[in-house]
């Protein structure tokens, strides 16, 4: 095949942005995506089969057949799991990646999130560290992401946020009933509630209409295309340049290197299962934290016998996600009005500054309450079945509310991605093997956030609350991060501050893998901002010809 300037692997939050920036910058780009270009019409609103509720499978990939992973549990037992099973830690496999079916919360991290070790010190057993870049380095790129992807909301009422130069491009959606109940309660508690920034059109934007406020949002593709991801923003822009070719159904096998150890291109299986070679001047890996680590580890050669970028055994380590905790409140009046997208109001009061705790979480009302979800979140003591359960469903479906948030995790070197020595996927490529646990301090922070959530619900009028306590086991999931840590020291990190692998200067990792820690917020806007930031660096290197072989 004809050599191109860049191969970008993975058309998700990171790769979509990079493909657009490089192709509009004049570079020739091949964007490889293992999944398909899906839309809401492929998988209509199905309560049992979507990307959030995968009882009958994932709507947006990967398929359950032929895509296993191995998960090692806390007792050391190995389990071969399919993508729709929770332990798999799936994100998605389609054009847009997770941003086709996400809830679209579009958060900026706070200043402290980039300075966790300086702010708190690392607890024993944790690799908590500072990023080599700070909030100010990313600020212009957060702004670019907010305006190019399209974000609505209003965080003026959040005094804890890091400063922004420009407001969000769209106003917040009008409140639903939960919002109207929670807002005055938060104010009575002296908290600082505000409208969640959401990559969702509240007014016409980017040539597409606004949200129609249905209850099927997170986990689903939007039927009116009002939810913004890379699939309906930057990827179409990239293709329109004529410089970017998107190849779907293409599974990358390995990054190929020349006899000097630099990348020469990639080997991938095309949509017909044929092995192809795409030569390139440089390679961008954007497969999300688990698959990016897997690809680097599977790219073994004479000069990189343990995998690309893995000279010091750092690739795959520090796997993290978010430990979601919170509380459920039962009310004696209806709190649910079936007006989507659900989540609308948040507080950032407990992200940092909690005495004795290293970090915390943003807390918000829950996104989605399909009837099937509520069957398992009725008040403790409710009969599991029979007339009592059915009556409780009628009583509580519209009279319960959930507050929860993504607790920032204390990363651990032992929580990691490896490649399994035995199990292979349907292309014969060794699969990801996940092992590890959550740090005890993560659980401690998570429990503290439960109490904050319960406090807010009680103030809002909940007659009874019960906690959603943190669970143990290796983290990851849709917010997976950390496996190709960014850092200045090649011995303790995988990429430098330009997302460039330390000892292979023409391979970049641009996704949540580079997050040194994952903030107490949904991470996708940060991944997009890093996409813009890294692309600016790549273009600068390219013009300096540093990347040409």
């Amino acid at each position: 095949m004809k050599k191109v300037n860049a191969v970008v692997i993975g058309a998700g939050a990171g790769g979509g942005v990079v493909a657009k920036e490089l192709s509009t910058g004049g570079l020739s780009v091949v964007l490889l995506e293992r999944g398909q270009w899906q839309s809401a019409n492929d998988d209509r609103k199905d309560d049992l089969r979507n990307q959030r509720t995968t009882i009958l499978g994932n709507a947006f990939g990967p398929n359950d057949e032929g895509n296993p992973r191995v998960v090692v549990d806390l007792a050391g037992s190995e389990h071969v799991v399919a993508p729709s099973e929770g332990w798999y830690s799936n994100n998605a496999a389609c054009v847009g990646g997770g941003t086709l079916s996400w809830g679209a919360q579009a958060w900026r991290f706070m200043r402290q999130d980039f300075r966790m070790r300086s702010t708190y010190g690392a607890p024993e057993g944790s690799t908590l560290e500072d990023w080599p870049i700070g909030y100010d380095d990313l600020e212009p790129f957060y702004e670019k992401a907010e305006w190019e992807i399209g974000v609505s909301g209003n965080d003026d009422g959040n005094p804890f946020k890091a400063p922004r130069r420009r407001p969000l491009p769209m106003p917040a959606l009008p409140p639903n009933r939960e919002y109207e109940i929670l807002l005055p309660a938060a104010k009575r508690l002296g908290l600082h509630p505000f409208d969640i920034p959401m990559a969702r059109n509240s007014v016409p934007y980017n040539g597409r209409g606004p949200c129609m406020r249905c209850r099927w949002c997170v986990g689903f593709a939007c039927e009116v295309d009002a939810k913004n991801g890379t699939q309906n923003t930057v990827i179409p822009t990239a293709l329109a340049t004529g410089n970017c070719e998107l190849r779907t159904g293409c599974m990358t096998k390995e990054i190929l290197v020349d006899d000097r150890g630099r990348a020469s291109g990639v080997a991938y299986f095309d949509s017909n299962g044929h092995l192809q070679t795409q030569p390139a001047e440089f390679v961008v890996v954007s497969c999300a934290a688990i698959e990016s680590a897997r690809l680097l580890l599977n790219s073994q050669s004479r000069l990189h016998p343990r995998g690309l970028g893995n000279r010091y055994d750092n690739v795959g380590r520090n796997l993290q996600g978010h430990t979601y905790t919170g509380a459920v409140g039962a009310f004696d009046f209806e709190v649910y009005d079936d007006v989507g997208p659900g989540a609308g109001i948040a507080i950032s009061d407990f992200n940092h500054g909690n005495p004795g705790l290293r970090g915390g979480a943003m807390l918000a009302n829950e996104f989605i309450r399909l009837p099937i979800h509520v069957t398992g979140m009725l008040p403790p003591g409710t009969p599991r079945w029979g007339a009592g359960h059915k009556e409780a469903m009628r009583q509580y479906y519209k009279r319960t509310m959930v507050i929860m948030g993504p607790t920032q995790e204390m990363p651990m070197a032992e929580s990691r991605v490896e490649v399994d020595p035995k199990v292979r996927d349907r292309w014969g490529i060794p699969v990801a093997r996940l092992s590890g646990d959550r740090h005890p301090h993560t659980l401690e922070i998570g429990r503290a956030m439960c109490d904050k959530a319960a406090m807010w619900l009680k103030e809002a009028g909940a007659v009874r609350t019960w906690l959603m306590l943190p669970g143990r086991g290796v983290s990851g999931g849709q917010h997976q991060a950390g496996t190709c840590r960014m850092g200045d020291n090649p011995k303790s990190s995988v990429v430098n501050q330009h997302c460039q692998i330390h000892d292979v200067d023409n391979v970049f990792v641009v996704d949540g893998s580079v997050h040194v820690n994952n903030g107490g917020f949904n991470p996708a806007l940060t991944i997009m901002a890093i996409g813009y930031y890294a692309s600016a660096g790549i273009l600068q290197m390219w013009r300096g010809t540093g990347l040409r072989s």
Partner: protein, 172 residues
């Protein structure tokens, strides 16, 4: 084999084949036998019993589970085959009749036994019944969106709701 034996064997085989094909074409279910279907329907109605609103069986629980046993729940076939047989065995040993023939309170007693002694099987039926009744109608359960109507969520879903709903009453 003489000619007569050969014809007899052939006829028996043909009869067996025809019986099998009859069972396939006339049976109500893809996976379950009619007996299993009756036992499961009664079990599902214990989990979501009829009251002012239909129970799980009337809403299509067996249809839902039967369909998924040919698809996403293939791995649970053996558990259903064994579990439903054991349910009937326990019923016969306790009350002298198969589960579906017991009174509703007798069935409830048996379900408590299952919940204690056959927990993995019971939990499987419990979660699948909940999925059938509270999930999307397209999978064969929640017929006529009965659970959604019971819970008061609009069916069919309200669509095209204006983003300007609620404008002007934004609390400050």
């Amino acid at each position: 084999m003489d000619r007569r034996r050969f014809l007899q064997t052939g006829a028996a085989a043909a009869a067996a084949l025809s019986a099998m094909s009859c069972r396939r074409s006339q049976g109500r279910w893809r996976f379950f036998t009619d007996t299993e279907g009756r036992t499961l329907a009664a079990l599902c109605d214990q989990i979501v019993p009829p009251d002012d609103y239909p129970g799980a069986a009337q809403a299509g629980a067996v249809e839902f589970i039967d369909r998924q046993l040919m698809r996403h729940y293939r791995k649970h076939r053996a558990a259903y085959r064994r579990g439903l047989a054991e349910t009937d065995q326990i019923s016969i040993a306790t009350f002298g009749h198969a589960f579906a023939s017991l009174t509703f309170p007798q069935q409830t007693e048996i379900v408590h036994v299952l919940e204690g002694q056959r927990r993995p099987f019971f939990d499987l039926v419990l979660s699948h019944t909940m999925q059938s009744f509270y999930g999307s109608p397209r999978h064969g359960g929640n017929r006529d969106a009965v659970s959604w109507r019971m819970l008061g969520v609009p069916e069919p879903p309200v669509r095209g709701r204006s983003q300007f709903d609620g404008a002007g009453k934004r609390p400050s």
